[in-house]
């Protein structure tokens, strides 16, 4: 039990973060109070502003404080390429590692029929008119290689086909630096089926 009601409240609030249990929350709270009040104020301000102002981009649905995110409003991106991903973190991962210059569409999840998460929840009703608009020439499906991700990719692929847009799916198989011996059978069979000519 902490000595003040407010500190107790702070510790309890910090626990909403992933991976933060009571002990870590306590350490964080005392660290800010004892050593870094300025950092604490900045954190509080940033949290406050973010929670108030961040919504979804009108075009790609990713998290953004503007009506359209910086990627969607950039003049330099190739508007004929559209890459479909599950989460805003996936956009970041792709942006940081590959030289992709097209735009994104963020589903904010994947198809999960048993939870009642269908096309409407994933904003596919918003994607369809965009594909029909004629600006997009290629749709790249970069949903996760899980069963849900596959189902999602399949349906988006069908919609894109109906709109006459070329559809591609990112490859999945053996990771760089991996050893075949230790790779599970499912991944191996995918890798084998998707082999490419040298």
């Amino acid at each position: 039990m902490s000595t003040s009601r407010l500190i107790g409240q702070l510790i309890e609030s910090l626990r909403c973060l992933p991976g933060v249990g009571p002990k870590s929350a306590q350490r964080m709270a005392y660290h800010l109070l004892e050593h870094d009040r300025e950092g604490g104020r900045r954190l509080a301000e940033a949290l406050n502003q973010s929670m108030e102002r961040i919504g979804h981009c009108r075009d790609c649905r990713t998290l953004s404080e503007d009506d359209r995110c910086t990627l969607c409003s950039s003049e330099r991106r190739d508007r004929s390429l559209l890459c479909v991903v599950e989460t805003p973190a996936d956009v970041l991962a792709l942006e940081q590692s590959i030289g992709y210059q097209g735009l994104y569409f963020v589903l904010m999840g994947h198809l999960s029929p048993l939870d009642g998460i269908g096309p409407e929840e994933l904003g596919l009703d918003q994607l369809e008119p965009r594909l029909r608009g004629g600006e997009v020439r290629e749709l790249i499906l970069a949903t996760n290689p899980t069963v849900e991700g596959e189902a999602t990719a399949h349906y988006i692929g069908e919609i894109a086909h109906a709109c006459g847009v070329r559809v591609t799916r990112i490859a999945h198989g053996v990771p760089m630096g991996g050893e075949l011996e230790y790779i599970d059978g499912n991944t191996l069979s995918h890798a084998f089926a998707g082999r490419t000519e040298l």
């Binding site: 992933p18 991976g19 198809l111 029929p113 048993l114 939870d115 009642g116 998460i117 269908g118 096309p119 409407e120 596919l124 009703d125 369809e128 029909r132 290689p145 899980t146 069963v147 596959e150 189902a151 399949h154 349906y155 069908e158 919609i159 109906a162 709109c163 599970d184 059978g185 499912n186 069979s189």
Partner: protein, 252 residues
Amino acid sequence: MSTRSKVTLEPAFILHHYPYRDSSLLLEVFARGYGRLGLVARGVRSARARWRGQLQNFRPLLLSWSLRGELGTLTGLEFPVATGMPAGRRLLSAYYLNELILRLLARHDPHPEVFDAYAEAIRDIDVTEEPALRIFEKRLLQALGYGLLLEHEADSGLPIENEAWYEYLLERGPVRRAQVCEQGIFLRGSSLTALHRERLADPACCREVKSLMRAALSLYLGSRPLKTREVLRQLVTMSDKGRDTGSRTDMN
């Protein structure tokens, strides 16, 4: 209820999974000799987990777990020889099977015959989608004690004639009729026989059997609609928008 039981390498499927705590998964498992049960797979969502990405639906697995109380803990995982898994559009039908099991079977109630029927349906769904679904539905109802009367007429007990027409009255059975009289399902005798023999290759008979199974299942599913059915409906509407040809919905 504090006795701990251990199970080793039991054939099982994962029906559904939810994220649990920061790095674990809560699995809704269907095991051959143990029925439906909940298992915690600790740490499988962390970056270096051994089983990361391996616990997927529709894949035959051999699971080991220890159980104390309601929830068990996953302790082992192996893969039998790889078999085909449903892909693309068929995945939705496979989810429908999962929802049927989740809705109609209680936890800790073993049904090996339903498990075998499920494994068979998952295997066949890629090749013969509709028949695979109908056969599973029939076997599921049978295992639950709600089996349909397919060989004889209700009341009279006369054998079903392939050329005749019948009205199937739920919870009673087929009655020979020239037209519908009591809001039953109207179908040919050959369709009843085909379902009984589990030979549903003929599309017309498959359609009749489908309305029969839909009516029979709705009796036990209650008023809460099936989520997979609703999602499929939305998907079909959406992908049909640009197309003139209506895509089929194979689950009920």
